[in-house]
Symmetry: C2
Subunit: 371 residues, 2 copies
Amino acid sequence: MNLPDELKPTPRVLMGPGPSDVHPRVLRAMATPLLGHLDPQFLALMDSTKRMLQEILRTRNELTFAVSGTGSAGMETVLVNLLEAGDEALVCVNGVFGTRMCDIVERCGARLVRVDAEWGKPIDPAQVEKALKSCSPKLVAIVHAETSTGVWQPLVEIGNLARERGALFVVDAVTSLGGVDVRVDDWGIDALYSGTQKCLSAPPGLSPVTFSPRAVEVIEKRKTKVQSWYLDMGMVRKYWGAERAYHHTAPISSVYALYEALRIILEEGLEARFERHRRAHELLRAGLEAMGIEFVVESAYRLPQLNAVRVPAGMEDGPTRKRLLEEFNLEIGGGLGVFAGKVWRIGLMGHGAEPNHVNMLLAALNMLRSG
Amino acid sequence: MNLPDELKPTPRVLMGPGPSDVHPRVLRAMATPLLGHLDPQFLALMDSTKRMLQEILRTRNELTFAVSGTGSAGMETVLVNLLEAGDEALVCVNGVFGTRMCDIVERCGARLVRVDAEWGKPIDPAQVEKALKSCSPKLVAIVHAETSTGVWQPLVEIGNLARERGALFVVDAVTSLGGVDVRVDDWGIDALYSGTQKCLSAPPGLSPVTFSPRAVEVIEKRKTKVQSWYLDMGMVRKYWGAERAYHHTAPISSVYALYEALRIILEEGLEARFERHRRAHELLRAGLEAMGIEFVVESAYRLPQLNAVRVPAGMEDGPTRKRLLEEFNLEIGGGLGVFAGKVWRIGLMGHGAEPNHVNMLLAALNMLRSG
């Protein structure tokens, strides 16, 4: 065969739903020569990574670490470890990622109860309350930041309802963590998963997860083996914990990247980081509205880091995104599911939530529209 | 909290069971700024990666790609996609990784038939033939290069037996690929998984896999959903194939690394690479034997890339490996399972299969022994 060309991708500005632009310090960390996965220096890095994750998740949960897969592997980890065949699970659905949770719940052999809201709207706690009157689920699962719609879901009330009914509260924080506040302990979250490639500004490949002591107890009392060997917490926690028992080879370079990304976040400070996301979003909002472009989500529930807007009249979805990519090296996301062809998803995530990103995109859109 | 220290691991020489030393060009590839996972340039890289994998696997299998997880995720991918509850599976076991396959087979709800050999010995085809007389398995699974023992398993005869009985032939090539020959099509292999962190000399995080048309047919005819959403071939293949349907966010940087690692392998040429592994192994063997250190595996079945040797009299396992790491920055592996405390595993994998690695280790061992 002919040898493929050298690796020389065109530098892009990533303003889609993720991956987002990775901080140069994180890229440099990725190029660090490897340690062995049982080297004492690597184990120390894992411990520090865990402590930093606890800090940004605002939790004391001992079982806090990064799953060796992307955010969807984190979703599967949480669900397959907490559910057994015959259990009941209530899943809130208002976009792609709630739908995905339903699919996994069913693959666990669990009985699914759905609470739906229209795409682009938050889940109504009253609907959850009503559903909980006629079922008794082991867990209630919900997406904090729906990447497919841009909805910022309030969690506290629904978490309280879950707890009152004795259910575990499970949260998808793939797109929220690092961009808006996530308070695991204060909000009574029992299990949560995230991803590295959104507001943490590291490459995709790891999924930070955390389990409360209540969730750990549920895992310890399982009657059956977890259906996934790779994601079985009973074994993985022995490697991330004090025993350091070999399970699978940790993705060393990805842990380096996460370690550096978390240091950058803590250097900046969580509040300053959230404020930066808010400011970038406001700048984008003002610019888009000046162009007559409308948001999908009403302002009270809009994520600053994932801006879903309607494709404006006079511009075509595919051709416009293609020109943004080819002529400006700017990537924005198209719509998924019912939003395909109708919605753009503009990411302002982590390192990329800053005015130059916004200004580049607004100016490019204006140029494309006018000519 | 106090901010953890900057990332500055001590440079190590990795001569354990993996991860192995990563080629500097691959490290540099890891630091490349990211493309989006649906960027046409990234899709082209995926296509080239697939073609290079086909080349080094010596296969025309259309379904050839890299799973977004480490080698164990590849193992799980192959087994959960091919097996359904109630199926029968024959697994050959002579070390940790055969045992792991049994665990996963049982989590699939399949009926397990085991053919065992002593650790350090290859599986005897006559035993497989005998077992096949009293069962009718959907697949026969075996490890090509047992990382826990250093056994190089001959495959052709057992593959023929499987096919004669109408079973799929499944091979673990985690430690073999890139170090010794792997001929998927010639040997009638129906499904195979590997890892990036052994003889491919890339960081851990991806698992190259391939499925024959027969295996694809089995997947297409499944009656039940695959128990893992993340590893469901029916969906993953739509992203790696022409449809490019979104499934999960690909680990972009890890694909960059694999791409560059595969280019390096094809530049060197497979035969030259295998010869380099053989020569490094011979140099190591001569040096260890001169010290009176014995191999676990008889010479006909010794892997060049994974040298399992008995801890010699007069040297202690843990303290010696600790001194190698602390005083010489050399990592070798300890024994697993029944070999714990008794065996060392010395890796000569990929980029690290060269005389300087061997000479450093032999000289350090001699220094530790004499003083």
